[in-house]
Each structure stands twice: as C-alpha cells, then as structure tokens.
Symmetry: C2
Subunit: 183 residues, 2 copies
DNA sequence: CGGTCTCTTGACGGAGTTCAAAGCTAGTGG
DNA sequence: CCACTAGCTTTGAACTCCGTCAAGAGACCG
C-alpha cells in the first residue's frame, strides 16, 4: 500500500507505546483522541453497559488500525476502553496531526480511505451475521473470518463480540464438536 | 461540504434515474457496480437469506449515499438488492469513474472519506444497539436516531433492520404505548 | 369492491439467559 | 519447583424473551 519512504515519514510522527497484558491504551472518559496502529500484539476496544458488562467493539491485531471512535465528528469524551490482550507494541498518533499529514501526503488520504472501506466491509459482515444467524452459525463464521483471533483471545470475549453469553458459546461449541464426530 | 461549482462537476458525470415505488435500482446478481446518491425519496438495500427472507442492510433518504457494497475490493456479483420505498430520484455513477474523479479533485477524496466515516459511525451504533439491548430498547433507539425513517417506511422493514420479527415489534410497541399512558 | 400489503393478536415452542457451582488452566510468589 | 490464586470454561436447572404458526382486521390502490 505504502512505499518504505512514505512509511518512514509517517512513522516519524508516531510515538511508540509498549503495553503489557491487560494494560490500558485508552481509558473511558479520556478526552484525548488518537489513532493507533498495532505493530505487535492484539488489543480490543469495548464499551461498558449499565451494569458494567463489557461489550466488545473490535479486536485489532498486527497491521490493524483502531481508535476510541473512528468518527471524529464530535469531541465529546470517549465512552470506549482499549486494552491489550497480549504484550503489544502500538504506534500512536494524534488525530489532528494525522489530518494535517493527509493534506501533505495526498496518497495517505487515499490509503486511509481504503482502511475505512475495509473496516466498513467487516462491519457490514458483522451486522449481517447478527441479522441472519443463530449463535452457533455466528460463531462458525467468526472462526472462518478471524481464525487467529480465536486462537489468541479468551472465549468469553468472543462471546461478548458476538452478542451471546459465555455459557451459550460453551454449550454450542460442545454441540458442534459432537456433530463433527458423527460425520 | 462541496462548493456549488464542484457539485456541478460531479453532477455532470452522474446519470439520473427516476424510480417508482417498489422499483429496483439494483437487482441481486447484477455485476455492474455503482454508487448512488439519493436526491429525493427513500430506498433500502437488503439481502436475501436461505429461505428468501429479506434482511435490510441500509435505509437511505435524501442526501445519503448507498451502494450495493461499499467496499469495492472484489468484483464478484452483488448479493444485495436495492429498491425504492417511495418515488425517488437517484444520481448514479460508475465506481471506476468516481475513482478517477477523486484523483482529479483531491477534495473529493476527502469528502468521500468523510462520507465513509459517517457511515462507519452509524454502523458502529447499530452494532452496539444489537449488543446491548432488548428488542424494545433497540426500537426506541432507532426511533431516536432516525425519526423520519420511522414515518416513511413500513414497520415490518424496521423490524427486519433491527433483527426482530414484525410480530415482536408490534407487541413491543403496544407495551410501550401502555407504559407511556401510565406515566 | 376485490386483492394485496400491512399490522395485530393469541397460543405454543425453542433458543438463549440467569443463577449457581464445580472443574480447569496458567501465571505468581514463596 | 511446587502451591496457590485468579481468571476461564463447563455444566445443570429454571426461567424469559422472542420466534413460529395461524388467523383476522385495517388500509390502500387499482
């Protein structure tokens, strides 16, 4: 997507942050809005419900972008949290700086648009997955689409991402396993 | 967002299509990929499930963009349908032409990126709505966020959009009405 | 005024949740 | 290197929201 030179320019305005497992990248109510590029490791963004339940918005592994809130329309406080699920290395950039950078490097505008488009595509799939399928099929499709994520994060978080309870996922996995044996 | 002059340039490469109610803008399995801007009226995009049930992906009213598939990564056939829910006027543009136009008019690249960002924001809300709430609250939030859509499209389509059955929505609306009276 | 589309209502069944408890695994400190 | 704890997964039983099936009532349009 980007040449080595362009990547270097961009990396110069980034700061690097190393996270240990379970460490926060962004805490709820933070007012400082940034964009993050995952160099190594895996993080998640999530939101807390009225009873403090966690609802996972996104997983991001190496090569993915993540943000407290991709639309920078308003500058109200973030309601999202982001934390690391593995030891991770993150490139951080201020959103304003990135905006300016896009003006200087037109190609970057295009690049970022394509990042957004990919994310849009993934989100569309996710919505369709919610609309069309039962828990079992939802999980099956998640495994198909994000095989490595499944290996690297706890199952109750995948349940949260899919909008089902950990117990339900556990039961369905069992059911799927016995089905497979019969075949 | 755009100046009048820029709008005119853009409009020159669009073709206009007038649709009657229920008329298709895009039919499933069409191979020709376009972008559409709604000038007047309201349309929906939807996908058909294994038993021919319709799952609504998006509503688009005046001023909104819609496409068979916003990610133009692959050129496989569209699995989406788009049809009009009211008599509508649509600006149509070939995706390739639009790509070229963005190179010529850098501002357009930026404009389109913001369109994507808004859509991303809306989709994020939608996912959170699925994750966090029961049918009743899902509907309540939909009404808050898209008040005019509620007025202009049949309720069973809103049910489809929310991922619930028309009967359930009907029952919940009744419940909500009686609740309100008590207060 | 007949037909299609839409919304409503009822009874029943099923997928998923809740609550509770026990087993399992991995990381930490002695 | 083992023991212990905290986090994760599994399992069971009762319960609930929602879906399914079926029927009927409006509403709109030709």
């Amino acid at each position: 997507m980007l040449t080595k030179a362009e990547e270097d320019i961009i990396k110069s305005v980034f700061t690097v942050k190393k996270l240990r497992k379970r460490q926060f990248l962004v805490q709820q109510d933070a007012s400082y809005r940034q964009l993050f590029f995952i160099e190594k490791g895996i993080v998640r963004s999530y939101i807390k419900g009225p009873n403090d339940e966690e609802h996972i918005v996104q997983f991001a592994a190496e090569g993915s972008w993540i943000s407290e809130d991709f639309n920078q329309l308003s500058d109200i406080k973030s309601v999202y949290n982001i934390d690391a699920l593995e030891p991770s290395e993150i490139l951080c950039i201020d959103r304003e700086v990135f905006q300016q950078l896009m003006v200087q490097v037109p190609k970057l505008e295009r690049y970022f648009r394509m990042v957004l488009q990919k994310r849009l595509y993934a989100l569309n799939l996710r919505v369709l997955n919610y609309l069309m399928h039962f828990a079992e099929e939802k999980y099956r499709r998640f495994v198909d689409f994000y095989p490595e994520i499944v290996q690297r994060v706890p199952q109750h978080m995948i349940a949260s991402y899919l909008g089902i309870k950990p117990e339900t996922l556990s039961r369905n996995r069992k059911k799927m396993a016995t089905k497979k044996k019969e075949a």
